[in-house]
């Protein structure tokens, strides 16, 4: 090889090189015992709105303890990646909000402080916390990796006027009724049900609920994936069929991933919506609380053998502390502050969610229909998503498979048992 060829070869190596390079970065953990960095999840209408909500509370905390908390509200689309980067690099915030379904996945990295009984005592005690919420804070049999902060559950939101116009007197209690009502409501450019079809997480949450109702599981007792069982195939097909077969969902919803389904419901373009604590979001979109009703998520009219009476996951936000924090005592006192009765009432009231501590739940602020429905669901018919290390991978793979099925349905391709099973088998093969 001549020198020129060697030069060319080197140039080729360098030109192609940028591929393998990747890296994460994060803010340095607060070094001083008087400061903390906090990543909050996006609970309100916008990142800015959340900052406005949180800042007075953080100021209050600084007044009480002298610890200054710097908050950054991280959008949901980035949160998991950034948490992973922080876990991998040992750099980043001291205290974070995590989606409670990720608890076991993040726990597996070993980057989060474990809340054993003594640590739980330091943040206010285990007995205060709602048991269902605490069950969704880490893998079973291990100390929780986080502390519940906000509790939520799915409910069925329906437009009262659209229902009245179509002559429907009560919200559906079964999926069969929902499809039937939906057909009556899908006329004149309006649709029965709005679905966030391109959002893998939303899809995966529904995959869990439907699978429970059909008697399925996504993981066996050893934590191995069981994606393509007949129960799961029926469950996913039932959900996709709202668009593919019943045609009560606008095909455009196959593109929705930025909460456009909530907007469609707020604007009256769709008459029903399955969502968690949608109230505060609907309010910011100028839909008054008396314009919609809130009901429990429906069940199957005749559940198959093994079908469970579950109509929501135990949804919620947990608060976790990174082991790399240089101010663990300060971080724990911040967790204690955020889970105190007073803060729980203030924050959950703003976000339309429910307190994760029993002592604050009795506040009259949580007696509206929406909160009562959520409360009832959480107590009676909600179940936690599988708390296994591969949970976040399940959300991504199954959620994405459903996104592709919605895309097929939207573009008129048939969605059959076979095509659903093929997608789920593919997804399962990608789990290792």
């Amino acid at each position: 090889m001549s020198r020129r060829h060697l030069g060319i070869f080197t140039a080729a190596v360098l030109a192609a090189a940028s591929l393998t390079a990747c890296g994460g970065s994060g803010d340095d953990s607060a070094a001083s015992p008087k400061t903390l960095t906090y990543w909050a999840s996006n609970q309100g209408a916008s990142l800015e709105a959340d900052k406005t909500t949180l800042q007075p509370e953080l100021d209050k905390f600084e007044k009480q303890t002298g610890i200054k908390v710097t908050v950054e509200v991280v959008p949901w689309s980035d949160l998991l990646n950034r948490l992973l980067a922080a876990a991998a690099s040992g750099k980043g915030p001291d205290v974070v909000n995590i989606g409670n379904t990720w608890s076991a996945s993040l726990q597996a990295t070993g980057a989060l402080v474990e809340f054993d009984d003594a640590t739980l005592q330091a943040v206010g005690g285990k007995d205060r916390i709602v048991p269902a919420a605490l069950a969704a804070a880490g893998a079973p049999g291990k100390p929780p990796a986080a502390v519940p902060l906000y509790s939520m559950a799915y409910s069925l939101y329906y437009n009262k006027k659209s229902f009245a116009d179509a002559g429907i007197t009560a919200p559906p209690t079964t999926w069969e009724q929902l499809a039937e009502h939906g057909k009556k409501l899908s006329t004149g450019g309006k649709w029965g049900l709005a679905i966030e079809g391109a959002n893998p997480s939303e899809n995966a949450h529904h995959a869990f609920t439907f699978s429970q109702q059909y008697g399925g599981e996504w993981f066996d007792s050893a934590g191995k994936p069981t994606f393509d069982t007949p129960q799961n195939v029926s469950a996913i097909k039932r959900y996709i069929d709202f668009m593919a077969a019943d045609k009560i969902t606008n095909p455009s919803n196959a593109e929705y991933a930025q909460n456009q389904s909530v907007s469609d419901f707020a604007n009256g373009k769709a008459a029903m919506l399955l969502w968690q604590s949608a109230g505060s979001n609907l309010k910011t979109q100028n839909m008054p609380a008396d314009a919609y009703g809130v009901a429990p998520v429906p069940f199957l009219a005749s559940p198959p053998a093994g079908g469970k009476k579950v109509n929501s996951m135990v949804a919620g936000i947990n608060m976790a502390v990174f082991k790399h924090t240089k101010n663990k005592d300060g971080a724990l006192s911040f967790v204690k502050f955020m889970t105190s009765d007073e803060e729980q009432t203030i924050l959950n009231k703003t976000y339309g969610s429910l307190p994760a501590v029993k002592t604050a739940a009795s506040d009259p602020a949580f007696s509206a229909t929406e909160q009562k429905t959520i409360q009832e669901t959480l107590v009676t018919t909600a179940a936690p998503l599988p708390q296994v290390p591969d949970e976040s991978t399940f959300e991504t793979l199954v959620g994405t498979a459903m996104k592709e099925l919605f895309a097929d349905a939207a573009s008129g391709k048939p969605v059959t048992e076979a095509s659903v099973k093929a997608k789920l088998t593919d997804a399962q093969q990608k789990m290792r």
């Binding site: 020129r4 060829h5 060319i8 070869f9 140039a11 080729a12 190596v13 360098l14 030109a15 192609a16 090189a17 940028s18 591929l19 393998t20 390079a21 990747c22 890296g23 689309s77 990646n81 992973l84 876990a87 991998a88 040992g90 996945s105 993040l106 597996a108 990295t109 070993g110 980057a111 391109a198 893998p200 606008n250 095909p251 455009s252 196959a254 593109e255 991933a257 290390p389 976040s392 991978t393 991504t396 793979l397 994405t400 996104k403 592709e404 895309a407 097929d408 939207a410 573009s411 088998t425 593919d426 093969q429 990608k430 789990m431 290792r432």
Partner: protein, 330 residues
């Protein structure tokens, strides 16, 4: 060219008449002088190591580990599994292998079409704007705008334009022109590939235009005059004068555009938001999904390394072939 090569040597060999006592300055020796080039090179070498070579080596190392969320905090605990990641991702009978191959073909088609159209648009615009006319500067600036816009802002705008219900594209095609009865999807299904291609060409062609415009400045006007006297028309001049004179520019331009397009991450990521539809599942997005979304950094790295090797072979082969041709011509 041949006439000027001897001049500098001749100068050096004969010291100027005015300085008879001066020692010959050819081949100076001494530690200061010999260290200097290395010192000058050092910053570039350090940066090259830090930005390219070390991450590459780390990437190769990662591809040999079972690097999942259990080990991401402390890589030393990750089991060494040798070529297992490669076997799993490149096994064309498995779902992962089939998808990688599918993604590879999609990416290849996307790159070739995108580079082809970008080059075609670039050369057309450059030739049209070669002669001065009123408003040429404005057109040049206008043509370069897509290249000057930040990629995120530009592609987000495209994603709004292409939405089915609220996008401007469907508004024009369906509501105003009435060309279609049904509103087509542009961001999911088969059309998503073409949407991605259009956005990519829109972003890349100004770069081709810029390079080719610069290249055209070096084509001597006499060649065109001579060709015109010989009776050559527009197409003949383009074929026999413009394109041969642009050959050196084209060689680099096509390779660079191909590598950029093949590796393009930003355009599909912003357009489709993380998980692209199957029909537009470019390899960069595919690798991202394998690494970050499923938290399997080992197999993500294995795909990256395989891709790196492929691009290396393509680039080296391209350069070798094009250079050999140039040698033949010389």
């Amino acid at each position: 060219m041949a006439t000027s090569t001897t001049a500098p040597d001749a100068d050096r060999r004969e010291p100027r008449a005015g300085s008879p006592a001066r020692r010959p300055t050819r081949r100076p020796r001494g530690p200061r002088r010999s260290l200097l080039p290395y010192l000058l090179l050092a910053p570039a070498v350090v940066l090259e190591l830090a930005i390219h070579v070390i991450p590459m080596v780390v990437g190769v190392w990662m591809s040999l580990l079972e690097l999942t969320q259990f080990h991401i905090r402390d890589w030393s605990t990750a089991p060494f599994i040798g070529l297992e990641n490669y076997r799993a991702t490149l096994d064309l009978n498995s779902a992962a292998g089939k998808e990688l191959l599918h993604s590879f073909w999609i990416t290849l088609a996307y790159s070739l079409l995108s580079v082809g159209f970008a080059w075609l648009l670039g050369i057309s615009a450059a030739v049209v704007l070669q002669r001065p006319f009123r408003g040429r500067a404005i057109l040049r600036a206008l043509f370069l705008t897509p290249y000057a816009l930040p990629v995120y802002a530009a592609v987000i705008t495209w994603s709004f334009l292409l939405q089915r219900d609220t996008g401007l594209v469907n508004h024009v095609l369906v509501d105003q022109l009435g060309l279609m009865n049904e509103r087509p999807f542009w961001l999911i299904g088969d059309n998503s590939f073409w949407s991605l291609l259009v956005v990519s060409v829109w972003r890349n062609w100004p770069f081709a235009f810029l390079c080719l415009m610069a290249g055209l400045q070096n084509v001597p006007g006499e060649l065109y005059e001579a060709a015109a006297i010989d009776g050559a028309g527009f197409w003949r001049r383009l074929r026999s004068v413009t394109l041969p004179m642009l050959r050196p520019v084209n060689l680099v331009l096509l390779l660079v555009l191909f590598l950029w397009t093949f590796n393009d991450f930003n355009t599909p990521f912003v357009l489709f938001g993380g998980s692209a539809p199957e029909q537009a599942d470019l390899i960069s997005i595919h690798i991202y999904r394998s690494s970050f979304k499923t938290w399997d950094f080992g197999s993500g790295s294995a795909m990256s390394v395989a891709l790196l090797l492929f691009l290396l072979v393509v680039s080296a082969a391209y350069l070798l072939i094009t250079n050999r041709r140039r040698d033949d011509h010389a």
